[in-house]
């Protein structure tokens, strides 16, 4: 007896000949607040297990939650960036379920009155067009703990003998952003899904309220997919695919589910409403637990937390401070700096755009700012194995180095030594210049003395110069540069050499 294998999925092109796909995307974003949503424990990734826990996030009897003000602010910012309305009065609710990742046996979430609702995001697609994704709501809730499944072969929950729980993540502020059904994307549905999550990530990163690292779980996507026969109105049964933790996986998961649904439906089967688990390796999904029906969560208002009423003034103040949309900012920067598409892409890929922009804001010309970050500093970061953004030099310091070069205090070569000094922790660029004695020797009398000395040491060269072979002066310039340890302006030395030879004849 062979195991039952699902029919080979259809390609997206084949699917859309018969069906219209409908998607709903739920994205969870962990906020980067200093502390948790309802208690003062640290919100940090990678701490020793159960070192950031307290009676509140462990659900101990008698403990009471208190709402983190910055988390509310972040939620409103995300809502405003997604063109949402902010609810005048918003409250928390208990979502009840028994599962060891939530020690209280309920999760504090929001139910009927999410903090922000009814928005949209215009998502840039690969071909330069935009796709409007309507946002139904975004609400505040708390993250769950992390389970480690022991025993069994796979480390998965299936076949495990018991599980170990780390509650450091329990209570970390989460914003869940829910789209309205995305219809009409047809063959582009997988791309639209990926582009939406990508745009959402960029927007939230621009707000600075989350690290939005899909690889670390600070941004997670659940993709709901259903198919309906072409031209019909009623939605088909949907599945919800979880564990989709990269942009590429979002696209693959939607594509796979479209093909799988079509396979089941065209062979006369029915789709079971269930949670599915995406497997990165194979690019396929497998059935998870059947979804509890919504009523089973028995939501009710959280009695321990009073409502939130954001004032209009505060909301308008936050709205006024919203940053530009990342892709609009990139387009503006490209024009302002006169970059080719490729140059812009290089900057973005190198994670250097913000650094260069900050360097330009600190007074440096775009061309030199860009050159420092993508060439010398990128190389330094690469050599020392750190991210460009983690180098021990600030955009302001880079701008200062560039100014010192343009003022003639430093040559490019000296400037690199100054940067090395800053990276080595020797202080600001000016500290390094002073500490290492790196400024260009611009004192003509000192330079003249060095030139005379070099001329005296090489009378044969002097003769060549006298004979009109001015190129020979290069040897003297080299000697002077060596004597001044590179701290002279070579062009100035060159003219001094010619002057002194002429004066001596």
């Amino acid at each position: 007896m062979t195991s039952i294998v699902e029919a080979a999925p259809y390609t997206v092109e084949e699917v859309v000949e018969r069906f219209d796909p409908v998607m709903g995307l739920e994205v969870h974003v962990e906020l980067n607040t200093a502390t948790k949503m309802f208690c003062g424990c640290r919100n940090e990734f990678g701490a020793e297990p159960n070192t950031n826990v307290c009676p509140v996030c462990l659900g101990l009897p008698g403990s009471l939650p208190r709402v983190n003000a910055r988390a509310v602010e972040s939620a409103v910012l995300i809502g405003l960036a997604l063109n949402c309305s902010v609810r005048e009065r918003s409250g928390f609710a208990r979502k009840n379920y028994f599962y060891p990742d939530m020690p209280k046996n309920f999760q504090i979430s929001q139910y009927e009155d999410p903090i922000v609702f009814d928005g949209y995001l215009d998502v840039p697609l690969d071909d330069g067009t935009t796709w409007r994704v309507d946002i139904e709501r975004a609400h505040m809730e708390e993250d769950t703990g992390k389970s480690l499944h022991m025993g069994g072969a796979t480390g998965r929950i299936h076949g495990a003998d018991y599980s170990l729980l780390d509650y450091n993540r329990a209570g970390v502020p989460l914003i869940e952003i829910v789209t309205r059904p995305i219809e009409g994307a047809g063959v582009r549905a997988p791309e639209v899904a990926r582009a939406y999550v990508s745009a959402l990530r960029d927007v939230i990163k621009g707000l600075g309220v989350s690290d939005v690292r899909m690889d670390q779980g600070s941004m997670r996507c659940d993709a709901n997919v259903s198919l309906k026969p072409k031209g019909t109105a009623e939605f088909g049964t949907r599945t919800e695919t979880k564990n989709v933790n990269s942009l590429r996986s979002v696209e693959r998961a939607v594509r796979y589910e479209m093909g799988r649904h079509a396979g089941v439906l065209l062979s006369g089967g029915t789709i079971t409403q269930e949670t599915r688990h995406f497997d990165e390796q194979s690019g396929t999904t497998s059935a998870g637990r059947p979804k509890e029906t919504f009523a089973d969560y028995r939501f009710f208002p959280e009695p321990d937390l009073v409502p939130i009423e954001p004032s209009d003034d505060w909301v308008e103040q936050l709205r006024a401070g919203l940053p530009e949309r990342p892709w609009e900012r990139r387009a503006r920067i490209q024009t302002d700096w006169g970059l080719s598409d490729e140059e812009l892409r290089d900057l973005v890929n190198a994670d250097a755009l913000d650094l260069v922009a900050d360097t330009v804001d600190a007074g440096a010309p775009p061309e030199s700012a860009r050159s420092w970050w993508v060439a010398y500093l990128a190389q330094e970061a690469n050599t020392s194995g750190v991210a460009l953004t983690e180098l021990a030099i600030t955009p302001e310091q880079v701008a200062r180095v560039i100014t010192l070069v343009s003022e003639g205090t430093l040559t490019n070569k000296l400037a690199r030594q100054v940067v090395d000094g800053v990276l080595a922790g020797e202080g600001s660029p000016d500290d390094v210049v002073a500490g290492r004695g790196l400024a260009v020797v611009s004192d003509d009398s000192a330079l003249t003395a060095a030139v005379d000395e070099a001329l005296a040491a090489q009378p044969d060269v002097v003769q060549k110069i006298r004979d009109g072979k001015t190129k020979a002066a290069g040897a003297i310039v080299g000697a002077v540069m060596k004597a001044t340890r590179g701290q002279a302006d070579a062009a100035r030395v060159q003219s001094l050499v010619l002057e002194r030879v002429a004066a001596g004849s």
Binding site: L60, R66, F98, L164, D166, V306, P307
Partner: protein
């Protein structure tokens, strides 16, 4: 009259992880019916009355995003029936349900 069946009671009991005997299913379905009928009278009121899930006229009770020392891990784990590798140990998760 609401219609809380024995099956409803059994389902709710399972969601709440309560062990309910066969006899109790009858008792509770009758009691829950009466409770729902009573509470249901609220729906006779005009629906322009704002809900009062919180009776105190207080809003926006917020905490600054500042660290408050957590428990020592030993203290946190001390009350747990079992712990291992600095983590809370719990019985098998799947398969514990009916």
């Amino acid at each position: 009259m609401s219609d809380i069946t024995r099956e409803d009671v059994a389902h709710l009991a399972r969601l709440a992880r309560l062990a309910v005997t066969d006899d109790e299913l009858d008792v509770f379905s009758g009691q829950l019916d009466a409770i729902l009928d009573t509470v249901g009278r609220v729906s006779e009121i005009d629906d322009d009355v704002p809900p009062t899930s919180h009776v105190a006229p207080i809003t926006n009770v917020l905490r600054a995003d500042e660290h408050i020392p957590s428990l020592d891990r030993e203290a946190a784990l001390a009350g747990a029936p079992a712990a291992e590798e600095g983590r809370f140990r719990v019985p098998r998760i799947l398969g514990e349900e009916l």
